[in-house]
Amino acid sequence: MNAGRTPILAIDSVSVAFGDKVRALDDVSLNIARGEIVGLVGESGSGKSTLCRTLMGLGEATSGTVRIDGEPLADRLDRDRLGFRREVQMLLQDAVASLSPRMRVRRLVEEPLHVHRLPLAAGRARILTLLKRLGLPESSLEKFPHQLSGGQARRVAILRALVLQPEVIVADEPTAGLDVSVQGELLNLMMDLHAEFRLTYLIVSHNLNVIRRITTRSVVMYLGQIVEEAPTAALFRAPAHPYTAALLSTNPVVDPGKRRVRIVLRGEIPSPIHVPSGCRFHTRCPHAQARCRQEMPDLRALGDGRKVRCHFPLAETAGLA
């Protein structure tokens, strides 16, 4: 593996269909380089959960390939399933529910050691170090998951992942359900761990403030497709896809000086069983034209590292491209 060059995760034209009708993911391509922090934004039904599941080998792609260090995921799982699990870890959205309810934290955090047959003494020492590092009291080892607060449960889930010394962490809504006062603590911790262990993050969140603050590149999904991908700062400064623009404009902010003109979209994200013809967003797009109804736009590069799936991208019409 030629580190640095080959993306650690490469998603290449991946589609996932359930039965004949539902296309949960449609031709999704995304490369994530080692050490990158990529944000994934989208509403329910956008396919972001399916993408994560496919990436983690919990579901299979109908077509296309997921590559890890250049090797197809299916091959990697056949050859070295446990090795893959050590390399790529995922934090599930509901941290409390993701901890086996009848086990004490001690057993939960030691379980990865048993599963991967890692040396116990070294592993236990590592757990104690991580416990301190994550700000968890040692007494929490004797607790059951339901005795933990939301923030603590998330730390335990992170600890369980870190025991395996992963290189990539996929985090599904890492701050969902957390109070703002705890949210900052968790994000600080995730950033510290990124610097310390040179982790690669894929962060799925509907919280645009979180995405904006901690990711370097953002991907916006709509109805199974990537509609826009850009460096985070550029994306938030000047969204090119009308959907991105609407999404960003609806983000409520406290500071009146930072409010955008709210673009309220009509209707809701259509069912993946009845995908609109042409551009999938045309039914709700304030700028839709005849061409959008017939012809599906390609995801095309706009320069400055931006890709957009739109016939009439906003930045271009505004003369910013």
Partner: protein, 285 residues
Amino acid sequence: MTAFAATRATIARILSGPGGIVGTIIIVLVVGSAIFAPLVVTHDPDALDILNRFSGPSAAHWLGTDNLGRDLYSRLVYGARVAMMVALFAIGSALVVGTLLGMLAASLNARGERLLLIVFDIISSFPSLVLALAVVAVFGPSTALVTAIVAVTLMPHFGRVARAQMLTLRHAPFVEAERLIGASPVRIALSHILPNIAGPLVVLASIDIPVVITIEAGLSFIGLGVRPPLASWGTLIYDGYAYLSDSRVPVIVASAALAIATLGFTLFGEALRDAVDPRLDREGR
């Protein structure tokens, strides 16, 4: 709440209603006399005293004697022992085998799952009496056989519940999380799913105890179960019937013992079910 505190809370909830209290008292008496049978009996249950047959209740024979002059009270106590042994072994093996098969069914592919479900259906559509007749015709009656027959007929019961429970948990976040750290399916099933489905299954088992007691008594009554001279509530009733014109006492006390034990286990089972089922929590309303 620790597991210990949870158990204590469950016990407290069982004892919070009259049904639970009565059931628990009966169970303690029945199980206690089954375990300590040699200590609580007044006579050897098999000792004959032909001269004293059909003696009514007296200081020497608390409940009187039967057609061969055996002490009815002592035979009832040993009958409880038989009933409890059959219930313990039959339900225990049905619970273990049924649960494992049910979990296996939930983990297999669609064809394997259907095959197992068909096996469950065939077994449960087969009346236990007919099965018992067929098996006894081949092997002859015995206590072990009664136990085995009851176990087989109850097994699908647990199998179906275990399968349904496992299906609901299969995509629970904590199961998904275990897959993500690389835990094998067997490990996930045994150390993560099983502890979470054990509760409902144990409740089910407790509700099945009275059923097993009556099946054993029924089979023994028609001569397909426990063989004389071993005392079972079923054989006691059977023996009593033959001499009904001489004395009604044996039939009445044996039937009463059977009825009270059944009632006790039913009340306890229902109280246990309510105690562990938050949906039946009456306090929230």
